[in-house]
């Protein structure tokens, strides 16, 4: 890690601190001010985009943990997000629990559900594990939720969430701004939690498993237990994402949690960088902003080519697919690596040696 000369640590605590120089602390303070004050001033439209970014970050965190830190490729994460969303909604609508309690409940149940489908990871890995996670997706969303859960309490209207349903104590979450602040809280909590978890024994065990699971087992890591723990934590993060996302929805429905969303969030971490928490955030921001920018690019053209606006959904998907492919071909380490290079360049600038 880069440190400018003249920085000396006298305690282990200071040596392990996240932010070690005044420059970094000032940069982070600036970021906090920007997020808490700057973005809310920008108006409702940027806020709604920021909320989508936040949701993508929360969704992708669990995937990053499984793929980037534990080496288990998952293509079924939307299932656990769905479990979180549905459990939270049911807890509030049917049992009258407060939002925060049902969110915790949703997160834990999503984690347990994830462990259930992670059980085969004790025996299989690689391509076969991808298949089991895909099976988790189809069994959970396309079968259990679509065919059973959606019909709880009559078809169609039961999972509607009129504005004002979601409250934390006396605080009613009914505007984009309030959703935004909720999002900032959750994203900070989850990211900081993950970052610290990865520095503990647990995180190092995960990384050892990612690098070589047989070697990790010989070094005394209980591979099965840590793999299941990874599934649990990833499921909890997914559950939190789902529980957050219903705050900006009017109706919870299975369409939000399809297989394509599972692949989408894997694409997001690929674009951002596998095995890096920065990557989750960069990827989410990049993909969401790119697709919004695309909308602005299409609007002026849609008079001349009306097909562009009617088929916009497909353009979006096509561009996203192409973005994944191009990133894999030309920037396989993702945006986080590029950011690191950028910082390294300016650390020594203007003398590049």
């Amino acid at each position: 890690m880069y440190l400018p000369s003249g920085v000396y640590h006298e305690t282990y605590r200071a040596d392990n601190a996240w932010w070690q120089t005044t420059f970094v602390r000032a940069k982070m303070a600036l970021l906090v001010v920007l997020l808490l004050v700057g973005v809310p001033l920008a108006g409702n439209y940027p806020l709604s985009i920021a909320n989508v970014i936040g949701y993508t970050i929360l969704s992708a965190l669990g995937v990053q943990l499984l793929i980037g830190y534990c080496g288990m490729i998952t293509l079924g994460h939307a299932a656990f997000i769905a479990v979180g969303a549905y459990v939270t909604a049911i807890g509030m609508l049917r049992y009258g629990l407060p939002y925060s309690v049902s969110m915790v409940l949703g997160a834990i149940l999503a984690g347990l559900w994830s462990v259930l489908f992670g059980l085969p990871s004790a025996k299989v890995k690689g391509f076969y594990l991808i298949m089991t996670t895909m099976a988790a997706q189809f069994v959970t969303v396309d079968f259990i939720i679509t065919q059973y859960v959606s019909r709880v309490g009559g078809r169609g209207h039961y999972f509607s969430l009129p504005p004002g349903t979601i409250t934390i104590g006396p605080w009613v979450i009914d505007t984009e701004l309030k959703v935004y602040y909720l999002m900032i809280c959750l994203v900070t909590l989850c990211t900081v939690g993950m970052a610290n978890l990865l520095r503990t024994r647990v995180g190092r065990a995960w990384i050892a498993i990612r690098d070589n699971d047989i070697a990790a087992e010989m070094m005394g890591v209980n591979v099965v237990r840590y793999k299941l723990l990874a599934f649990f934590v990833a499921g909890v993060l997914g559950g939190i994402a789902g529980a957050f996302w219903i705050s900006s929805l009017y109706v919870v429905s299975a369409e939000h949690f399809q297989f394509s969303w599972s692949i989408w969030i894997v694409g997001v971490i690929l674009i951002g960088g596998v095995g890096s928490l920065h990557g989750v955030i960069f990827g989410s921001v990049f993909v969401t902003v790119l697709l919004e920018a695309l909308k602005f690019a299409v609007i002026p053209l849609s008079d001349a080519f009306p097909a562009l606006s009617t088929g916009f959904l497909y353009i979006k998907e096509g561009v996203f697919g192409l973005a994944i492919v191009l990133f894999l071909l030309y920037e396989p380490h993702g945006l986080a690596y590029r950011w690191q290079q950028f910082k390294n360049y300016f650390n020594l600038w203007p003398f590049a040696y």
């Binding site: 085969p120 079968f143 065919q147 070589n212 697919g321």
Partner: protein, 294 residues
């Protein structure tokens, strides 16, 4: 009993189409080690290309041949542009590049042809059903079965007897040895993708003839995965048997389990079946068992 037989026979007939597509998947995996998630989109693309030729007024066999040619060219192009550079990359990168391609192809199909269900008009195959005793089978199933069978035989014969097919087998068996004996691995990879595109295109066309053609035909590509897992990932006979078994299984679960639940069993039964197989026999029927060392 009649229902049971009827379900089994329809399952075999539909399963032969799955077998065709699964064969395409297996060939890519066997030759180049790429786990392809875009198979469903390849079937979509092929089916719509054939539909386009057919609606322009070409007779069906000509349209099918033209689809094969287009599939061949697209396969070569895809391999050259995207997959060639991914040789030796980590498995996640290779899988996700095919996932990215699947997003891209589906978007292309959706953008050009829209989401409405299209049918081949006029009907390609005669519509009056054929009766065997008490069983009633649509002619379209029988013709599809025959077409899939002919193609399967052609492909298998190609691998067994032709020079290129043998070089593909050699590469799959031991790439280093094949290279040192003068087999061009690049040509083998390209050919594998071309064959996969052709097989998928025909499979999609046949399925489109049975149920009408819309974007959900791409779901077939995901059904292929249980089939190849059952057969063993790198076994050609395994893919064929796996495809047929998945077809039968899907029909049986549709016929018997569908009444017990509100619906949707037909779509997920192959996956549940696949997970069970994976837990007990991850290398499938005839796949190679891998031994891992540090």
């Amino acid at each position: 009993m009649e229902t049971f037989l009827q379900l089994i026979i329809t399952g075999i007939l539909v399963g032969s189409i799955y077998a065709l597509v699964a064969l395409g998947w297996t060939i890519i995996y066997k030759c180049s080690g790429v786990l392809n998630l875009a198979m469903g989109e390849l079937t979509l693309l092929g089916a719509y290309v054939c539909l386009a030729f057919y609606t322009w007024g070409f007779p069906f066999p000509v349209a099918l041949l033209a689809t094969l040619v287009v599939g061949f060219v697209l396969g070569l192009l895809t391999e050259r542009l995207f997959l060639r550079r991914m040789i030796g990359q980590p498995v996640l990168a290779v899988i996700m590049i095919t996932a990215g391609l699947s997003f891209f192809f589906r978007a292309v199909v959706g953008f050009i042809w829209g989401t409405d269900t299209r049918v081949f008009t006029p009907q390609v195959f005669p519509t009056e059903p054929v009766r065997f005793g008490k069983m009633v089978l649509g002619q379209v199933y029988i013709w599809s079965f025959l077409a899939a069978l002919v193609l399967l035989v052609i492909f298998v014969a190609f691998f067994q007897y032709s020079r290129w097919g043998l070089s593909m087998q050699a590469t799959a068996d031991d790439e280093m040895a094949a290279l040192s004996l003068g087999v061009s691995a690049k040509r083998v990879y390209a050919l594998a993708w071309a064959i996969a595109f052709m097989a998928a295109g025909v499979g999609g066309t046949l399925l489109g003839n049975i149920n009408g053609l819309n974007i959900s035909v791409g779901h077939l590509g995901i059904l292929v995965l249980p089939a190849v897992v059952l057969g063993g990932l790198n076994s050609v006979p395994g893919a064929i048997v796996g495809g047929i078994v998945i077809g039968i299984l899907q029909n049986l679960s549709g016929g018997y389990l569908e009444q017990l639940t509100p619906g949707g069993v037909k779509e997920i039964a192959p996956f549940v079946f696949m997970v069970i197989i994976m837990l007990f026999r991850p290398y499938g029927l005839w796949g190679w068992e891998k031994i891992e060392r540090v």
